[in-house]
C-alpha cells in the first residue's frame, strides 16, 4: 500500500550533520516563538504540539500497518481520569496525572489483546467500533462521566513557583515535552524493535520466518501508542480545562487521520506538518464558516488520490534529490 511506509525510514536512521543543524535551527525558532507570535498564534502553537503527540500515537501504529480510528479511547481514558480525580475526588495533580496515564496504558494492554487479532481493513473497523464504544460510555454513563456536559474546571498546577496557567510557561513546558517525545520516538523507530515493526508492514511472513514474534511486536506497538494518546489526553485536559464526549468523538479520530496522512505518515516530521496545516487551515476557514470539514475532507481525498506520501513525503523526496545533487548525503 502506498499510503504507508516506503524506504524513507532507512535513510533517516543516521542523523547527518546537515540534519542536526536543521534540527537545532527549528528548536531555536520554536524557543523564540513567543517573541514573534501573537498571543493567539501561541495558543495555536500549543495546540499543534499536543495534537501532534496525539497523531504520533496513530502514525507510530501505522508504521506497523495498523491504521487506528480508536486512539480517542486512550486519549479519553487519561483525560477523563485526570479530570474526574481532580475535580470530583480532589486528588493531587501528581497522583491524578499518574493514574490517568496508567489507566490509558491499562486500556491499551487490554484492548490490544482484541485488536491485534485483526489486520488491515479489519483493524480500521474494529478500532472505529471500539472508539465509538468509548464515546458511547462517555455520553451515556453519566454518573461516571457527567454525560454530555463533561467534566469542567481543570486548571494546570504551579510547579516550583512557575504557574502553568500562564500560556507562555505552558508553551515552554509543552515544547520540552514534545522534544522529549520526538527524540524518544526517533530512538524507538531506529531500534531493533522499531525496524521490526516497520518490517511487519512490508513483509510479515519474512519476519516470521526470521524468528520474530510478529503478534507480540504489534501488541507492544499498540500499547506504546495507547501511552502516547494517554499523554496527549492529559495535556489536552490541562490546556482546555474540560473533557466531554465531543472531545473523543469520531470527528477527532478522523481529524487525526487527516492530519497524519496529509503531512505524511512515514516520518516524525510529517505528522507535525500535517497537524500544523490542518489547524492553520481550520483557523483561517473558521473566520468565514463553520463548515470547514467539507474543505478539509476534500483536501484529504485529493491527497490520497494524488499525493499518497503526504506533504512531507513529497518534500522529502525533493530535498533528498537536492541533497544528492549538492553531495550532502552520506552513502551507506
Amino acid at each position: 500500500m502506498s499510503i504507508n511506509i516506503d524506504s524513507a525510514g532507512k535513510k533517516n536512521i543516521i542523523l547527518t550533520n546537515y540534519d542536526k543543524i536543521i534540527f537545532l535551527l527549528i528548536i531555536i525558532l520554536a524557543i523564540l516563538a513567543p517573541f514573534y507570535l501573537s498571543a493567539f498564534m501561541l495558543t495555536v502553537a500549543i495546540r499543534i504540539l499536543y495534537m501532534t503527540v496525539l497523531v504520533y500515537s496513530l502514525s507510530f501504529l501505522a508504521r506497523g500497518g495498523m491504521i487506528s480510528l480508536g486512539q480517542t479511547i486512550f486519549f479519553g481514558l487519561s483525560g477523563y481520569t485526570l479530570a474526574r480525580l481532580l475535580i470530583i475526588h480532589n486528588y493531587s495533580h501528581a497522583s491524578a496525572l499518574a493514574l490517568g496515564i496508567l489507566l490509558a496504558l491499562l486500556g491499551a494492554v487490554l484492548l490490544g489483546l482484541i485488536v491485534i487479532r485483526t489486520k488491515g481493513v479489519y483493524f480500521i473497523m474494529i478500532t472505529l467500533a471500539l472508539g465509538q464504544m468509548g464515546w458511547g460510555i462517555a455520553l451515556q454513563w453519566s454518573s461516571l462521566t457527567r454525560g454530555d456536559d463533561g467534566i469542567i474546571g481543570v486548571r494546570p498546577p504551579a510547579i516550583l513557583g512557575i504557574d502553568f496557567r500562564n500560556r507562555l510557561y505552558f508553551y515552554y513546558l509543552m515544547l520540552l515535552l514534545f522534544i522529549i517525545i520526538y527524540l524518544l520516538l526517533r530512538r524507538i523507530n531506529s531500534s531493533r524493535f522499531g525496524l521490526a515493526l516497520k518490517a511487519i508492514n512490508d513483509n510479515p511472513e519474512k519476519l516470521k520466518s526470521l524468528g520474530y514474534n510478529v503478534e507480540f511486536i504489534r501488541y507492544i506497538a499498540f500499547v506504546i501508542s495507547g501511552f502516547l494518546a494517554g499523554i496527549a489526553g492529559i495535556i489536552f485536559v490541562y490546556y482546555n480545562g474540560i473533557i466531554n464526549p465531543a472531545t473523543i468523538n469520531i470527528n477527532r479520530a478522523v481529524w487525526m487521520l487527516v492530519a497524519a496522512i496529509l503531512g505524511g505518515i512515514n516520518s516524525l516530521v510529517g505528522p507535525l506538518i500535517g497537524v500544523a496545516s490542518v489547524l492553520l487551515m481550520e483557523v483561517q476557514i473558521r473566520r468565514f464558516t463553520d463548515r470547514y470539514m467539507i474543505i478539509i475532507g476534500t483536501v484529504f481525498v485529493l491527497v490520497i488520490l494524488f499525493m499518497p506520501e503526504g506533504i512531507w513525503g513529497f518534500l522529502e523526496s525533493k530535498i533528498n534529490k537536492l541533497k544528492k545533487s549538492l553531495g550532502l548525503t552520506r552513502t551507506h
Binding site: 487479532r117 479489519y122 480500521i124 473497523m125 474494529i126 467500533a129 451515556q140 476534500t298
Partner: protein
Amino acid sequence: MLDPIIIMTVLNGLTQAGLLFLIASGLTLAFGLMQVVNLAHGAFYLLGGFLGYSIFRLTSIWWLAVIGGGLGIALVGLFMEKVLLEKIRGNLLSETLLTIGFSTIIADLVLFIWGGRPLSIRIPANLNPRVNILGIVYPGFRLFILVFSIVVGVGLWVILFKTQLGAMIRAGVDDREMVAALGINISRLFTLVFMLSAFLAGVAGVLGGTYLSLQVGTDVRYLVLALVVVIIGGMGSVGGAAIGALITGLILSFSGAYFPQLAFSLTFAPMVIILAVKPSGILGRKII
C-alpha cells in the same frame, strides 16, 4: 402470559434488526466483492434520508421519497466508485481511507444544507395501522420495516443465487482474477454492486428517517452499528448480516430498556466475543 414490556422490547429489537439488516447487507455485499469497507455507508444512509425528507416535503408521496432517496444515493455511489475509488483500485487501505474522507464531506454538506436539528419524515397513515400482537398494541409502521427488510433479504437472495448477475457476483467474491480471466467485465460488476449497496443505504435512510429521526451523528451511529453487524455475521456474507442484525437489534433494544446507561456500549459485547473466538465472524470464511 408474557410480560408486555418484554414483548414490546422483542418487537422493537426485531424492528431495529430489520433496519440494521438493510444497512449492513449493502455494506457486506460491496465488501465481499471489492474488499473495500465503505466507511461512507453511514453518510449514504444519512444523505439518503435527507433526500427522502426533501422529496416528501415537495411531493407528499412517501414511496417516491423511498425510491428517490435510494436512487440519489446510488448516483452518489456511482460517482464515488467511478471517479474516486477506481483511481486507486487495488490499494485497499487507501480506498478505505478515501471513503472516510468522502463521508466527512457528506456529513458536513448535510449540515450545511439541512442544518443540525433532528428531522423526521411523517409516517404515512396507511402504513401505520395499530396492530394487536399478543395483547399489546404495536405501531404498524415498525412491523412494516421488518416485513420490508425481509422482502429485501429475499430479493437479495434471489439476485445472488437465482440470476446470472448473482452467479457472477458470487464468483467474483470467491476469485476475482478468475472471473476477470473468464471475460466478465469485473469493473462494471464492481460499479453495479457498489450502486446496489448505496441504493440500499439510501432506502434504509428514508425508512430510518420515518421510523426514527435524522441528524448529523446518525450517520456514524449507523455506520458503526452496521460494522458491528457485519463483523459478527462475517464480512461478505448476506446471511451473516441477517444473523448479526438480529443479535445487534435485540441487544440494542434490551439494553436500552434495562441498562440505559450502557445501552450503546453493550452492543459491542458480541463483537468483542466473536473477535476473541472466531475473528472471521459467524458465517465468515477467512479473515484477510
